[in-house]
């Protein structure tokens, strides 16, 4: 009995410790995100430095290095544009495009997952095979094929990113619907004569929202990285717009003389993704613990 008790307290301690660690990482992640959101709001007040260069001040190194200028904390690029304000713009772009495409993906995924899981039969098999097919096309090549045909633009980028993520939503939602549709409350609502659409969107949908939300937060960092990759290849958002990926590929050309041009935006991207990951992981752990 004594042994049992001590084992219990040990387990309690480790749960407490884990909870504390989770809360700490949640707050670190949230504060990183808060800083980045503030930075992207700031872009509305500093329009000049990011777009208009000063050809007298090209390739200035960061302020703390020798030769750095006071006005430009992270230095300037090949056209004399301020790097820090361009990074702020890039963050704004990532924070706009990422969530929009994830929302689009989850709407698509919820709709098709519900249809597939609830209706079953040939529709289910067909939809599953189609998702298998699209999943086996490497996502960058799929993006390249689509962009090659309809041209690069922000809208294309959002659609391509949504396409890249919606299959995982379909699979998750479908699996959950298959479990839920045998529950009594669904039988009961069918017994009182509710039609399929009402059951799907009024009764099943609310049960699917939490797991869809978790998947959405987990796929947000992937989407942001993928968007940066497409920007890096020059087939994402249209060029004059500052994007983190585009800035890294621009800096690659001047790597020998001005390495900060490629390294600084990559660091910003890393902090952004790590911050989102920290929030997403702690939310997921919290849900797993309470379940």
């Amino acid at each position: 009995m004594e042994n049992f008790n001590s084992a219990m307290t040990e387990a309690n301690i480790s749960i407490k410790r884990r909870t504390r660690r989770r809360i700490i990482s949640l707050w670190i992640g949230l504060s990183i995100l808060f800083l980045f959101i503030v930075a992207s709001i700031l872009t509305f007040f500093l329009h000049k430095g990011a777009y208009e260069g000063n050809l007298m001040k090209t390739f200035l190194p960061p302020q703390w290095q020798s030769g750095g200028s006071n006005g430009h904390f992270l230095g300037t690029d090949e056209l004399g544009r301020d790097l820090l304000s361009r990074i702020f713009y890039g963050i704004r772009e990532s924070l706009l495009i990422g969530p929009i495409s994830v929302i689009l993906a989850s709407i698509l995924g919820l709709t098709f997952g519900l249809l597939s899981g609830y209706r079953g039969g040939w529709l289910d098999s067909l939809l599953m095979r189609i998702t298998d097919g699209i999943l086996s096309i490497p996502i960058l090549l799929l993006a390249i094929s689509v962009i090659g045909v309809i041209g690069a633009s922000t809208l294309t980028l959002i659609v391509v990113l949504a396409i890249s993520q919606w299959m995982s939503f379909v699979r998750l939602i479908r699996a959950e619907v298959i479990q839920l549709r045998q529950k009594q409350f669904i039988l009961a609502s069918r017994a009182i004569g509710a039609n399929d659409w009402r059951i799907m969107f009024k009764h099943l949908l609310p049960h699917l929202i939490p797991s869809a939300l978790v998947l959405a937060t987990l796929s947000l960092p992937n989407v942001i990285l993928l968007a940066a990759g497409l920007d890096f290849l020059g087939i994402g958002s249209t060029p004059p717009k500052p994007t983190l990926g585009g800035m890294i590929s621009g800096g690659l050309k001047y790597l020998v003389n001005a390495p900060w041009m490629a390294i600084a935006p990559g660091l910003a991207l890393m902090f952004l993704v790590v911050g989102i990951n920290m929030v997403a992981e702690s939310v997921r752990e919290k849900l797993e613990q309470s379940a």
Binding site: I137, S145, V149, G251, A262, G266, L272
Partner: protein, 339 residues
């Protein structure tokens, strides 16, 4: 239930399998079913690519110079077969594919298929290099971390993993280039002409994502396995930890890790577009980027199709290897013809 001699359990399963009407046909049935499924998935891929290629508002406009007359336009439309109905176009397209005709590259003016197949080798070699270092290192570190979850080592590794997860592979490539090629000049900047040396930087940046993925999987599945009864039994028999981990626990997690690594390898062998572009690696990823920037659409299509085929085939192979490794799955397949 006690089994007097070893292997009695598997004998029991065997006799069950032999008594079923399918007998040994189950395995053949399963392989046939998986082959057919893969074929169908590839058919879907081909169809998706066809649909994408017809999404353009006016494909002729991008192919002609600005001063083209309406007659030129109509001629080109006819020679490309765009004047026919969409269904006819689809049938012609499928027919060409079955006969191995993937179109002609407008960029190189040769049939696309041999061009792409030639470029597959460097891509494949790079992907193999990346998946090898990633899985060896990830399995080693993951197992070490799983022995004492929550220890200092585990937490430091966890921190490194979460930073690595946020690192874009192309940015890592740029940083590596700066450190090792610009500052210290140890490794070449581009190309694959310097043997093993030229593999290092692109291999590291390409292997980053699979490294993180395999490490996480190894750690979590090893932690779960070490909690099970047969491991406790092995420990209580007084076996050394190294032996318990390597001979007993590794066997259990080998199968999920191998299938995951196989699928990740499929992704690498087909999607190394960014890495190949940065390092001017002469593979299919670079070819597809050339194709898109110079308007050679047949090239992009062929690369996409072959890459998807690679992914589908690797999935199939991974499933068949699993059958070899996992006796439970094998007996189930023998008995029912499916998993």
């Amino acid at each position: 239930m006690d089994f007097k001699k070893r292997g009695e359990m598997s004998d029991l399963i065997k006799t069950q399998a032999e008594s079923s009407p399918l007998k040994s046909h189950g395995l053949r049935l399963y392989i046939a079913r998986r082959l057919l499924q893969s074929l169908f998935v590839f058919f879907i891929v081909v169809t998706v690519i066809f649909v994408i290629s017809r999404m353009a508002a006016d494909p002729v406009a991008t192919l002609l110079p600005p001063g083209a007359t309406p007659i030129d336009r109509e001629n080109l439309r006819q020679s490309l077969g765009l004047d026919k109905s969409l269904i006819d176009q689809y049938v012609i397209y499928l027919n060409n594919l079955i006969h191995g005709d993937f179109g002609i590259s407008t960029l190189y003016n040769v049939p696309v298929l041999p061009l792409v197949l030639n470029r597959c080798v460097p891509t494949f070699a790079l992907a193999l290099f990346a998946i090898l270092w990633a899985s060896v290192l990830a399995i080693f570190l993951g197992v070490l971390a799983s022995l004492r979850p929550g220890s200092i080592f585990d937490r430091i590794l966890g921190g490194i993993v979460s930073i690595a997860q946020g690192t874009a592979s192309f940015w890592l490539a740029v940083v590596l280039l700066y450190i090792f090629s610009v500052k210290f000049r140890i490794f070449p900047v581009t190309g694959n002409s310097e043997g093993l040396k030229s593999f290092v930087l692109p291999g590291i940046s390409l292997g980053l994502a699979p490294f993180v993925a395999i490490l996480r999987l190894t750690r979590s599945s090893m932690i779960e396995t070490l909690k099970t009864g047969y491991i406790r039994n092995a420990n209580s028999r007084g076996l050394k930890t190294t032996r318990v981990v390597i001979n007993h626990a590794m066997r259990n997690i080998a199968e999920p890790i191998l299938s995951y690594a196989g699928i990740l390898f499929g992704g690498l062998a087909s999607g190394a577009v960014i890495t190949e572009t940065i390092f001017a690696w002469p593979g299919i990823g670079q070819l597809s980027m050339q194709g898109i920037s110079l308007g050679d659409y047949a090239l992009v299509q062929a690369v996409t199709m072959l890459a998807s085929l690679t992914v589908i085939l690797l999935n199939l192979i991974v499933d068949l290897i699993n059958l070899k490794l996992n006796p439970v799955a094998r007996e189930k397949v023998k008995q029912y013809g499916k998993l």
